[in-house]
Amino acid sequence: MAEIIIWIIQILILPALSPLCVGIIRKIKARFQNRQGASIFQPYNDLWKLFHKDEVISRDASWIFRFAPFAIFGATLAVSASIPIFASFLSNNFTGDILTIIYILAIGTFFLALAGLDVGGAFGGFGSSREMTVSSLAEGGLLFSLLVLSFVSGTTNLFSISGTIDSLSLASLLPVVLAFLGFFIALLAETARFPFDNPSTHLELTMIHEAMIIEYSGKRLALIEWASASKLLIFITLGSSLFFPWGIAQSLSLSAIIFGILVFLAKALIFCLAIAVIESGIAKLRLFRLPDLLLFSFILSIIAIGLTI
């Protein structure tokens, strides 16, 4: 019975908290720019507003345009159910494998890019092209950084990785650190964050993710915004519960669970802080500088693998 409650919390926690995460990042960025900035719950209001507005769909759009938001949000829901958030004792060897979550996320990217192409606007086209370029190069770094963890802990199942990493000896710390650097670069690329893409602008030169969803409105836009927010939180959870699993609940006891959730929230906050600092600190890289950065993350992870075995 307790197991089921834990599972319900596990499934609901990410979608629920993800807009908050985006709100916090925007708040911190505003503070950096010496302005008050909207409240951290503003994204919830935006979603609520969008869900209740009418929708305008282009004449050229096909069923792909209508179906894509559900596929994208569904993908993020599926992934958020199969990654360790606060409890590592839950064993999910159905979908909890590194490759499975990477490829399920790829479904989301696939439909997002198609939706961008569907309406035949100029923006959607080059948005999808840039998105596919960045995501195809980022997948390598992402998989190899997670692979380092699985070689260190001897299994690719995420829940058991988070279980074994904290009992790690210091000797094998260097590969995990290198892998985390590679992972963090891949995180920024996959969630369209700063050095790769500017989330808050509609300037043709710089936007990748925004360009694809430019034609959306109403409840479909809400779904997509929500999906990209929860994708950000998914990567933050992966980063925190796999690379820094200390404090994750090992057993079913109530105190361990509550403590696990609190630790998770703290770690998520630190990640948001880090992302916001980067967004305010550095400028967006030119599109043809991105492959070098992604290659760097790929090389980092390969060195890390070299060190583990």
Binding site: V56, I107, L114, G121, L147, S150, E215, P291
Partner: protein, 681 residues
């Protein structure tokens, strides 16, 4: 039930059906409609019987061996159907079943233009050739059916012979296959020389007597010979021009099944006939696999002809299959046969998957091309509104080939990844880096494949039509749609039952001599969980399907809950004020330009820009601006052209012998006589 199915008469009944199909097609060649129906009817019957026979053969452990003596020495038509051969019969029959159904409707647009009887004849001969290739167990008989298969497919490639590039493609195809066969003849004859027999069984028994150096030579020759047929990178130049030239249901068969006969023979020779395998074999196959996969997908990205793009993807998927085979070779050379079984199961599973989704893609491409009369995707656009079913089937095919979960592509790539990960963990120092390089190339390839199929599907089916042809496109006939629908269902089913299938592949691979008696490195539980290396990683196909559909339904429920009574208005796409013409959409060139510029070191793109001004001397107002982007064909420029010119130069010299002067001719005889008297005596 299986024993009755496995009798010799059923096997020869399959052969007889295809022969009948060929003859009746020729017999009715005067009346197109009848010829088409006759040949497709017998082809469908033959493939149905083939599927039944192969399933029975896979499930029974009886060693099936038929022998027919022939009047020529050393040649006897003997067939050996073990589990591996039965599996390949299954692939051939399955795909030819759907292609023949598809063909009934598709051939209609050839009526009156080309000889339908000829098409039916060579189509049935081609399938018969493939069936014999995977079951022949006498060297001479094997080489005979191997060349008959290439001959039949040559005539199918030059079927539309009024187009000059088809004839050129056919010529290049036949020459490359023949050169490949020359290597195969050399390899098989070397085997005959050291084992003294023409029969694969006897060769298997006395394989030990082949000295190691000769074994390496045979390996290299077989790799080149069968690699040419499989379309491995340095020998692939015929594939992107030959497959698109054939009628679509034939190029589906060629791309889906024919290139697998090369893979079949590689497995037969490397694992079934040779016993102790040196360590470097696996490394070579892995490197070739990595190069083929990566370059295959990069060339696909540069391609704008739909069928050429799919042909390049066949090269990429052959690379992925070679990952499986290469890892199996490395593991078995280190004695870790349980991991080798995992590698080989991954390779066989991907062979089956690639056969299904590649033929699905070619069939849907064929239905698009038959309606728009052009292969260039730049002239398509918006076809999803005119051909909704074909678009859906193409979408299913693209998702399967880019290994997106619910479909079968993902599970075989997952198994290949597991084999490579095991390699990284357990191999020796140098080979570990080859495995890492292969894993890197595989993940990069699957990412680029995803980008390429977004381009292929998006530019072809979405947005607005960019040419008159695209506007008049209509949905194709029922038999075409049925063929494609069946294949998409098969893609999904193979994905769902991948757990059950890996169990079957397991006992197929354990039928091979090198592996019988070994436990595989993976186990399949009742609830379809594939568990690698006792817990290293696990996965359950039905669970993923259930989770994904539940997530989708949940998303729908949330929107239904929160957005109850909003209206949906149909408006115009945002067009910054000017009316949005079809030229405003992104084109295939534009889409893949960024990736090509990133990989320009490998692809060496060249750019030509011409500007035509309204007024020649006042160069301010350009009338038209054309941009030509080309990718240089590295292989022809640096390997095949120089080789051909070198041979031409020699023949230029040799030609001078026939100088026309009688005295010189007599001098040749005189010198021959004197030299012989000096040296031979």
């Amino acid at each position: 039930m299986f024993e009755t199915m496995l009798s010799q008469s059923t096997f020869f009944a399959i052969m007889a059906l295809f022969v009948l199909g060929a003859i009746t097609a020729l017999f009715f060649r005067k009346d197109d409609k009848l010829a088409n129906l006759a040949s497709s009817f017998f082809a469908i019957l033959g493939s149905l019987l083939g599927i039944a026979y192969s399933i029975a053969a896979i499930n029974s452990d009886a060693a099936i061996f038929y022998e027919i003596k022939s009047s020529f020495p050393l040649l006897s038509f003997n067939f050996n159907i073990d589990h591996l051969a039965a599996f390949f019969i299954f692939i051939i029959s399955l795909i030819s079943l759907f292609c023949s159904i598809y063909g009934i409707g598709y051939i209609k647009h050839y009526y009156g233009k080309y000889s339908i009887g000829g098409l039916g004849f060579f189509y049935n001969l081609f399938i018969l050739g493939m069936l014999c290739v995977v079951t022949a167990s006498n060297i001479l008989f094997f080489l005979m059916v191997w060349e008959i298969m290439s001959l039949a497919s040559y005539f199918l490639v030059i079927y539309e012979r009024d187009k000059q590039e088809n004839v050129k493609a056919g010529f290049l195809y036949f020459v490359m296959t023949h050169i490949g066969t020359a290597f195969i003849i050399l390899a098989l004859l070397l085997m005959y020389k050291f084992t003294g027999s023409f029969d694969f069984f006897a060769i298997k028994e006395s394989a030990g007597s082949i000295p190691p150096l000769v074994k390496d030579i045979i390996f290299i020759l077989a790799l080149i010979g069968f690699g040419t047929k499989a379309g491995v990178i340095p020998f692939h130049i015929w594939l992107p021009s030959a497959h698109p030239a054939a009628p679509s249901h034939v190029s589906a068969l060629m791309s889906g099944v024919m290139i697998k006969t090369g893979i079949y023979m590689m497995i037969r020779i490397f694992f079934d006939i040779f016993t102790d395998i040196p360590i470097w074999w696996g490394g070579v196959v892995l490197i070739i696999g990595a190069v083929s996969a990566l370059l295959g997908v990069l060339y696909a990205l540069t391609e704008h002809d739909l069928k050429k793009l799919l042909a390049y993807h066949s090269i990429e998927n052959i690379g992925i299959i070679l990952f499986g085979i290469g890892s199996a070779l490395s593991f078995s050379s280190m004695g870790m046969n349980s991991f080798a079984i995992l590698g080989l199961v991954a390779a066989l599973f991907h062979t089956l998957n690639h056969a299904t989704f590649k033929s699905l893609l070619f069939l849907s491409a064929g239905s698009v091309i038959s309606k728009t009369h052009t292969g260039n995707i730049e002239e398509y656009g918006g076809l999803i509104k005119y051909m909704p079913q074909t678009a859906f089937f193409f979408l299913v095919g693209s998702m399967a080939i880019s290994a997106l979960p619910p479909f079968n592509g993902f599970f075989s790539e997952w198994l290949t990844f597991q084999a490579l990960f095991e390699g990284i963990r357990s191999m020796g120092a140098a080979y570990r880096w080859i495995f890492i390089f292969s894993a890197g190339s595989l993940i990069l390839t699957s990412g680029l494949a995803l980008a390429c199929f977004v381009k292929a599907f998006g530019i072809t089916f979405l947005a607005r039509p960019r040419s008159e042809h695209a506007k008049q496109a209509k949905e194709s006939l029922f038999s075409l749609k049925f063929g494609m629908a069946a294949l998409s269902a098969v893609c999904l089913l193979l994905g769902l039952f991948s757990g059950f299938l890996s169990g079957i592949f397991n006992n197929i691979v354990r039928g091979i001599r090198l592996f019988n008696g070994y436990e595989p490195a993976f186990s399949v539980s009742q609830s379809h969980i594939i568990n690698i290396n006792s817990g290293f990683s696990s996965l359950s196909a039905p669970a993923i399907f259930v989770v994904l559909s539940l997530a989708g339904i949940a998303a729908l429920a949330i929107t239904r809950l929160l957005a109850k009574d909003q209206k949906v208005k149909i408006g115009a796409t945002w067009d910054c004020g000017t009316d949005l013409g079809p030229r405003m959409e992104i084109t295939a060139t534009g889409f893949s330009r960024t990736i090509i510029m990133i990989f320009k070191g490998i692809l060496k793109p060249s750019k030509q820009a011409e500007i035509e001004y309204r007024d020649a001397n006042m160069r301010y107002f350009p009338k038209s601006r054309t941009l030509v982007l080309e990718i240089s064909d590295v292989y022809r420029k640096y390997f095949y052209k120089p080789l051909y010119n070198f041979v031409l130069k020699i023949s230029g010299q040799v030609k001078k012998i026939q100088s026309g002067n009688v005295n010189a001719y007599v001098l040749y005889i005189f010198t021959a006589l004197i030299l012989l008297l000096f040296f031979a005596v």
